[in-house]
């Protein structure tokens, strides 16, 4: 499990546009760097990031090697109802990591 940091406001008013910030530990190896052996280090990147809000997709990003190591992505979403925001990062091998955050919307 890679370490991830998520910032979601704990509460918001219905209709507010809130900012969500995410950061995950990942080397995002481009596949272009030459290692000590003289051979390129194989590509190893997270290539998919999805945020769902009570199950509905609200943000979806396709990442390429040009995204910096330890990917930071911040975006906005409308606070519609109380519930759970789920964040999933999937790497090029198909492995997925999911982390959730709760939000109270009054």
């Amino acid at each position: 499990m890679a370490r991830a940091l998520i910032h979601v406001p704990a509460s918001a008013k219905k209709g507010d546009v809130i900012e969500i910030k995410t950061l995950i530990s990942h080397v995002m190896e481009t596949g272009y760097r030459i290692g000590v052996t003289g051979q390129p280090i194989p590509r190893d990147i997270i290539d998919d990031f999805v945020c769902t809000y009570n199950g509905e997709e609200v943000f979806h990003a396709t990442l390429y090697p040009a995204i910096a190591a330890n990917p930071y992505i911040s975006f906005f979403t409308v606070a519609t109802e109380s519930g759970t925001l789920a964040f999933s990062w999937t790497d090029q091998h198909g492995a997925t990591q999911v982390q959730t955050a709760a939000i109270t919307v009054e």
């Binding site: 370490r3 991830a4 940091l5 998520i6 910032h7 910030k21 995410t22 950061l23 995950i24 530990s25 080397v27 910096a68 190591a69 330890n70 930071y72 911040s74």
Partner: protein
């Protein structure tokens, strides 16, 4: 002539420093005298040249043995954060955007993980790090009585692991050691650097100063020449900071990961084309001690982000 020497050396370029306002002028530095580089002779051949060379050599000799350019006056010291881009500063100041915080979180987990033959965690003896580790990083390196010399924070962590937890020492620059260092250093954020400079510490701080001021490597450069005498100027597109080590361990953009002050010092030495000391070498600890003493009273900002 001085600027011609510098241009010939090709090492440093003058440019207006945004931190000091546009058109950074001669007047700001009129009080500082810089020894001319003895290896360069901008003059032609002839007997007068030999006299000038002798004078240059003698003045350089005197400058290098004690009457060197002064330490940065205490009130002119500025954090290395002042010399990075606004984006890098913003990355550091936002805990959700600072990649070093991932290491801090890992460190928190390790702090609470049982280890060694004693099967105790750091927390079992030290409790809540926010309380017990407050101010600790700000006073390292510190003299370790059991070893008869100063050690830095990384070495102290390992000393505690080996002696008290009966666990194995963590390798230098390992993810685990950096995580614990980052977590502990984070607890000193906002506090003033406060390393001891008593009679016991003085020989080590002085040894560190000697290393800082000693010319070394193929480029025959000393740390002081850039960081005391030419901070604020540009080197390869980036501003030269004063090298106030208040933010370690740092997330360095060049490394794309967190690293220690010793790693950074070894980088500098490689950059100067000097043979770097090994991790854990007493020379590096003495240099760290001098650097922290040089930054005494300045605010800790660990973990920082640097280019």
């Amino acid at each position: 002539m001085r600027s011609a020497v510098l241009r010939v050396a090709g090492l440093l370029m003058r440019s207006p420093s945004p931190q000091r306002g546009e058109g950074w002028g001669e007047g700001d530095r009129a009080s500082r005298q810089e020894p001319p580089h003895p290896a360069l002779s901008p003059l032609g051949r002839g007997s007068s040249e030999r006299l000038v060379i002798a004078m240059v050599f003698i003045s350089a000799f005197f400058c290098s043995v004690g009457t060197r350019a002064a330490d940065i006056p205490l009130d002119q010291r500025r954090s290395d954060s002042d010399f990075v881009s606004a984006d890098t500063r913003a990355m550091q100041s936002d805990d959700t955007a600072n990649p070093a915080m991932l290491a801090v979180l890992d460190g928190e987990t390790l702090w609470n993980t049982k280890a060694g033959a004693t099967n105790k965690s750091c927390a079992d003896c030290h409790g809540d790090a926010a309380k017990s580790m407050k101010g600790i990083a700000a006073r390292y390196p510190a003299f370790a009585a059991e070893l008869g010399r100063p050690i830095d924070l990384e070495q102290q962590i390992n000393l505690s692991r080996v002696t008290d937890q009966k666990a194995e020492a963590l390798p230098f620059e390992s993810k685990e050691l950096l995580a614990l260092t980052a977590y502990i250093a984070r607890q000193s954020r906002g506090m003033p650097v406060a390393v001891k400079d008593d009679a016991q510490a003085k020989p080590f701080i002085d040894a560190g100063r000697a290393l800082f001021e000693q010319r070394q490597g193929q480029l025959d450069l000393s740390c002081a020449q850039c960081h005391d005498d030419n901070w604020g100027k540009k080197l390869a597109g980036n501003l030269v900071p004063q090298a106030m080590a208040t933010g370690y361990p740092i997330y360095r953009l060049e490394w794309q990961e967190v690293g220690s002050l010793q790693r950074r010092l070894r980088n500098c030495m490689s950059g100067m084309r000097a043979e770097p000391y090994d991790f854990g070498a007493p020379e590096l600890v003495n240099l760290e001690y001098f650097l922290m003493w040089r930054a005494r009273g300045m605010t800790m900002e660990s973990p920082a982000v640097r280019p």
